[in-house]
């Protein structure tokens, strides 16, 4: 490793933040893989996106500030972007899930292929 002279005020919070962010993201991935329904699966990746990414970005900010010898706040850009865009993505995906599950339940008596085609066409006309 090239960072042979990191000071102590970077090492201790950096280690804590990296381990916390890694564990949160790992739990998010396992939850995404293991939960049984789509609306349950919406929950874990939001935790990994906001809290895990926030921990890693703060640790990156500390490390690059210590290595360059001046305050580096580039990572605030990614933090701001992720915090702004994660709810938008979640709401659009959730609305797509609600729309698709509702449309599929209404078209239950038909066969699958025709139901899918009618589903998409009605989605176009509905706008």
């Amino acid at each position: 490793m090239s960072d042979a002279d990191l000071p102590l005020w970077v090492t201790i919070p950096g280690t804590f933040l990296l381990v916390t962010g890694g564990l949160l993201t790992l739990v998010a991935g396992i939850g995404l893989l293991r939960l049984p329904q789509f609306f349950m699966r919406m929950h874990p990746p939001t935790m990994g996106t906001t809290l895990g990414a926030g921990c890693v970005l703060i640790a990156s900010m500390l490390t690059s500030s210590a290595m360059l010898g001046r305050p580096v706040i580039h990572e605030l850009l990614i933090t701001l972007f992720v915090v702004v865009t994660a709810p938008v993505t979640s709401m659009l995906l959730m609305r797509a899930g609600v729309y698709r599950s509702g449309a599929r339940a209404r078209l239950a008596p038909n066969d699958d292929a025709a139901g899918d085609r009618a589903d998409e066409q009605s989605g176009t006309d509905r706008s």
């Binding site: 490793m1 090239s2 960072d3 042979a4 990191l6 102590l8 090492t11 950096g14 280690t15 990296l18 381990v19 962010g21 890694g22 564990l23 993201t25 790992l26 998010a28 991935g29 396992i30 995404l32 893989l33 789509f38 699966r41 919406m42 990746p45 990994g48 996106t49 895990g52 990414a53 890693v56 970005l57 640790a59 990156s60 490390t63 690059s64 290595m67 580039h74 990572e75 850009l77 990614i78 972007f81 992720v82 865009t85 938008v88 993505t89 659009l92 995906l93 609305r95 797509a96 899930g97 729309y99 698709r100 998409e120 066409q121 989605g123 176009t124 509905r126 706008s127």
Partner: protein, 93 residues
């Protein structure tokens, strides 16, 4: 003390890679299209975090730009796919 920090950096990278593997598995076995889009969303966030970990472990600032680009394009692609599922087309007349 730096050994502890290096260990934490490797541990975080390993966690992100395992989360990427989980997201890839959900991408392949997801029963619906929205499951696959959610898995893609998680996948690009984890790829961005892995690039940031590369930037922490090797002291260069090039990885930051790549992480920002991945965040931008991932957001646009996820919004486009979710909009396509929701409305049937992406850019409406």
């Amino acid at each position: 003390m730096n050994a502890v920090f290096d260990w934490a950096a490797w541990f975080a990278s390993l966690c992100f890679v395992i989360a990427m593997v989980c997201a890839t598995a959900r991408l392949f076995i997801g029963p619906n299209a929205q499951d696959r889009i959610l898995a893609l969303d998680t996948f690009y966030i984890n790829a961005m975090l892995t690039l940031l970990m590369l930037g922490i472990r090797s002291d260069s600032t090039v990885y930051f730009d790549m992480a920002l680009l991945i965040a931008l394009f991932g957001f646009v692609s996820t919004i486009a796919l979710a909009k396509f599922l929701l409305r049937g087309e992406v850019i409406e007349p």
